[in-house]
């Protein structure tokens, strides 16, 4: 996944969507790969309005890139080819191939393997959780399963 993806994703847990801490998700143990792509200055100029600059600064630091300017380049700064090239490299040429994306609100981590992030939730966090809990799995068995899963937040209510 290209780094720009982090600008468009958040935690898959419904309750986290309204929390500012769920964006951006935080990269951990990220392995990076550069894949060359033709430099397209106009493309970067048109993509920039879509970018949450504060979030990108956080992500850039987490991935070990040089610190980005305090504010988003605009006006004449958009004519600076080096600025655009740096952004092109970070947003479009850098791929995260392995690692985790972690939510700052609930603490859940999404694994990235071979460049594919997995946002499917374990059943105790997903929509089917309550159905699973109330109708399908007898309580005793569920407690037994739950005791074998080591995830923060699961314990509440049991």
């Amino acid at each position: 996944m290209k780094v720009i993806t982090a600008n468009f994703v958040t935690c898959a847990v419904k309750e986290c969507k309204t929390s500012p801490a769920s964006f951006p998700l935080h990269f951990n143990d990220a392995e990076l790969e550069q894949q060359e792509l033709d430099f397209q200055p106009e493309f970067i100029r048109n993509v920039l309005p879509r970018i949450d600059w504060e979030a990108l600064r956080t992500i850039s630091n987490e991935l070990g890139f040089p610190t980005l300017p305090d504010s988003k380049p605009e006006g004449e700064a958009l004519d600076n080819e080096q600025t655009l090239k740096d952004l092109h490299r970070l947003l479009l040429e850098t791929h995260v191939t392995e690692g985790k994306l972690t939510c700052g609100n609930c603490g859940h981590s999404y694994m990235i393997k071979e460049g594919i992030a997995n946002f499917l939730l374990p059943s105790h966090l997903g929509e089917e959780y309550h159905l699973f809990l109330n109708n399908i799995i007898p309580h005793a068995l569920f407690t037994q399963i739950a005791s074998q899963i080591d995830t923060p937040g699961l314990g509440t209510g049991f």
């Binding site: 468009f8 898959a12 309005p49 499917l120 059943s123 997903g126």
Partner: protein
């Protein structure tokens, strides 16, 4: 006719093979009327690059076509594409289908950019208000039961590699059922996607959703017309059956006055 993206690298054991519904999507998006509508919605040099998201990409043929033919469809090439699917294999396939099609169709640059394929349930990991164009060819066949969602662990390549032949067969059948089985009226998954549309689409956002006759498209469209501030129209259709269109693609968008 614009070329169909190559999917010869895709194994159809667990992935939906491009069919009539997929091709209706390609024809609809590249039709003169839709490309005119989209080019006016996302005018080059005035509007920032659109983010195109396909939910349930399967082989990736639809998203790859949209990326590779962005000039014909949107009148611009600075388009970002992202795909989601509950099947990790489909995500891997889509990434390859999209990058291959862009390479084949957009030389020299500028090129559209496929930013990622995510294993996910519908658009649950997407940031609210971020999607400009949403594409959905759902599991629309009415079935007695709706297959459950796979867990993160079921998509772990190490788990499927360790399976016996018969376990793999069951697993493949399960993943294939997710590509078509839609539960009651074939609408259970589509209903969840429709519910997510107002939250996930941007202010200029538009969604294309395929429906089959058994989904009762007229009733679905009537329901969407009841949403405050939204419009819906038929954008494409195919396969007449007893005087009815077998498949339709509807376009759902925010009324301009609210932009």
């Amino acid at each position: 006719m614009l070329p169909t993206p190559d999917t010869s690298h895709v194994s159809f054991d667990t992935i939906y093979e491009p069919s009539e519904d997929s091709y209706l999507f390609l024809d609809t998006l590249s039709s003169a009327s839709e490309s005119k509508w989209l080019s006016e919605r996302f005018p080059k040099n005035q509007e920032a690059s659109p983010l195109v998201v396909e939910v349930g990409t399967g082989s990736g043929v639809v998203l790859a076509f949209t990326a590779a033919q962005s000039q014909q469809i949107f009148g611009r090439r600075d388009v970002l594409t992202l795909g989601t699917d509950v099947n990790r294999n489909a995500c891997i396939a889509t990434r390859k289908t999209a990058t291959t099609a862009i390479q084949a169709e957009q030389q020299p640059s500028p090129q559209s950019v496929h930013i990622s394929s995510l294993t996910a349930d519908l658009c649950t990991p997407l940031r609210p208000g971020s999607v400009d164009v949403l594409l959905f060819n759902p599991p629309y066949v009415p079935t007695e039961d709706l297959p459950r969602l796979p867990s993160a662990a079921e998509n772990d390549p190490a788990v499927s590699e360790a399976m016996s032949r018969s376990a793999k067969f069951d697993n493949d059948s399960y993943f294939l059922s997710l590509t078509y089985a839609g539960g009651a009226d074939g609408m259970e998954t589509t209903d969840r996607l429709l519910d997510a549309i107002p939250g996930v689409l941007s202010v200029r956002g538009v969604a294309y959703v395929l429906l089959c006759k058994q989904n009762r498209p007229d009733q679905v469209m009537e329901r969407i017309r009841g949403w405050d501030g939204w419009q819906v129209e038929t954008a494409g259709s195919s396969g007449m059956q007893a005087g009815w269109e077998k498949l339709v693609i509807v376009r759902i968008w925010r009324k301009d006055s609210l932009r």
